[in-house]
């Protein structure tokens, strides 16, 4: 579904991603883990077209997207729930959800998808007329995930969805990701919460200072010595 082949990404003169290749197959949940500053967010932004790779290519369902304009990707079924949520803080929850469904089929199905999102997050339904900036952190994350779902994505990418949430909410977020996957959406997730994301993932990649250092099934990585000492602190 998504194939990244040998990309390099830089901010100005600072190269942040080096020769990264990875693959996400249809129906999978794939995790990308790594320490702060490893380049996880940079990778997701590059996939979404917000940043350009200097080298290499990115294929989505076989179509090269590394040169496509960022705003065109969501219509192809590629959606990102960005780091720090990035809701439209002066719009209501409803309007934020509308913003997730501007294109084609997603727009036609807007009301129906919204009901489905409210089914996943009943709290959002109660707060649908509230200004997004005044939601609690957990509610904001629900709204951000909901907004991502509104586009009826084939591949939904999450950048640290559990950041800053209480443990009980973190579990809820991972439950939701499981449900999303059961509904047939492929998931690529970036997380600091290594243990839970490896447990939820079919496969995972480990990124260290912009390079891929390890990959394998979630289970294999969970029991890997290096991963255990470096990321799980055991």
């Amino acid at each position: 579904m998504l194939e990244i082949r040998g990309i390099d990404v830089s901010y100005g003169d600072t190269q942040v991603i080096r020769d990264l290749s990875l693959e996400v197959r249809k129906g999978e949940v794939v995790a990308l883990i790594g320490a702060n500053g490893a380049g996880k967010s940079t990778t997701l932004k590059t996939i979404s077209g917000l940043l350009r790779a200097r080298k290499g290519e990115i294929l989505f369902e076989g179509t090269p997207v590394h040169k496509a304009e960022a705003y065109k990707l969501i219509g192809m079924g590629l959606s990102l729930c960005p780091e720090a949520r990035r809701l439209f803080v002066e719009m209501t929850v409803d309007e934020n959800l509308d913003m997730g469904s501007l294109k084609g089929e997603a727009k036609r199905q807007r009301q129906r998808t919204k009901e489905a999102v409210f089914g996943l997050f009943p709290r959002l339904k109660e707060r649908r007329r509230q200004i997004a900036g005044t939601l609690s952190g957990g509610e904001q994350q629900m709204a951000a995930i909901g907004r991502g779902l509104m586009s009826l994505p084939k591949l939904l990418m999450f950048d640290e969805p559990s950041l800053g949430l209480a443990p009980i909410l973190v579990r809820e977020i991972f439950d939701i990701i499981k449900k999303i996957r059961e509904d047939g959406t492929t998931v690529l997730i970036v997380e600091q919460n290594v243990k839970q994301s490896l447990a939820a993932a079919d496969r995972a990649y480990v990124l260290e200072t912009g390079r891929l250092v390890m990959q394998g099934t979630g289970e294999a990585l969970l029991s890997n010595e290096h991963v255990r000492t470096a990321y799980l602190g055991v």
Partner: protein, 309 residues
């Protein structure tokens, strides 16, 4: 207060509110551009001047009422704004310029070119538009025979005010109820997130500049029956729009409406109680006060990110 004094005060407030409605419309265009583009369009008043000349010649040559010219001048100004954004401002935005304020300087240049062109073509003569209803008014005593005080309502001022209100409501509807309107607001609040949602933010910027120009163009038509016209009139209205934009806490449409009304009433009070010629001075005092009391100074204008409905 004697009833004569109350009469003067009420009459002053009425004129202030009528004026403020037009000011709000002028300020809204600048506010919108400010919110989405983060630039202060210092050619705003000059764009209005162009629209006023369009409406003026439509009236003189074809006897088209200035209120009807709203439907001609506003689309023309929309188109002109689109062209300005696409071919003048966008290229400057792209260049990683030495001065981040380059686009603002560019808008000053555009304004100067427009007012000089107007002088060349139309001379610097003051013109007034001889509409038949220019001095028509409604009087309270005609409707309420035993009224203790007498108030009057100028017909053209009231019609212009009503038009301004209608246009403002239409704008509100567009920005809050349509996907394009929401996309414009989203672009103002977080352009990167808007891109992720599939918003063509470059297009939104172009539309916004067109919309801002169209709004001030409409305001120009509404002003024509009640104001005189000359090529250099743009500058004072750019200043007015600027004051409103600051008063309205920058980038918020509701703020611009309140800012417009406040400024209109303030000027009207100045004119009545200090002297006719003092209204521009009052406006200038308000402008300076805004700059002094604005937290973060003028620079915060350029950095301010958000834009509400």
């Amino acid at each position: 207060m004697t009833s004569a004094q109350i009469e003067v005060l009420l009459q002053t407030l009425i004129s202030g509110i009528l004026l403020g409605g037009l000011y709000a419309l002028i300020g809204l265009g600048m506010t919108l551009i400010m919110g989405v583009m983060k630039i202060i369009n210092l050619a705003h008043g000059e764009l209005m001047m162009v629209a006023m000349y369009i409406a003026y010649w439509m009236f003189v040559l074809f006897h088209v009422d200035p209120y009807l010219s709203v439907f001609i001048a506003a689309p023309v100004m929309f188109f002109l704004g689109v062209m300005i954004q696409k071919f003048l401002i966008n290229p400057v935005l792209r260049v990683e310029s030495i001065l981040p304020e380059n686009q603002v300087i560019l808008t000053v240049g555009i304004g100067m070119v427009l007012s000089n062109l107007a002088t060349m073509f139309f001379t610097s003569d003051y013109r007034s538009t001889p509409v038949g209803y220019a001095t028509d008014a409604l009087y309270l005593s005609d409707y309420w025979k035993s009224s203790p005080i007498e108030l009057s309502l100028s017909v053209p001022w009231s019609v212009s005010f009503v038009f301004a209100v209608i246009i403002t409501i239409a704008l509100w509807f567009f920005l809050s109820k349509t996907d394009t309107g929401k996309s414009i607001r989203a672009t103002a609040q977080d352009p990167e997130a808007a891109l992720l949602m599939g918003v063509n933010i470059k297009l939104m910027r172009v539309i916004t500049f067109g919309l801002g120009s169209g709004l001030v163009g409409a305001a120009g038509c509404l002003l024509l029956p009640i104001y005189y016209l000359f090529p250099a009139l743009g500058g004072q209205f750019t200043l007015i729009a600027f004051v409103i934009t600051i008063l309205g806490r920058l980038g918020s449409a509701m703020g611009a409406i309140i800012g417009g009304l406040v400024l209109g009433v303030f000027e009207s009070l100045t004119a009545t109680y200090i002297g006719m010629g003092w209204a521009p001075v009052g406006r200038f005092v308000m402008f300076i006060a805004c700059l002094v009391f604005l937290p973060g100074g003028v620079a915060s204008l350029l950095r301010k990110k958000r834009f509400g409905a």
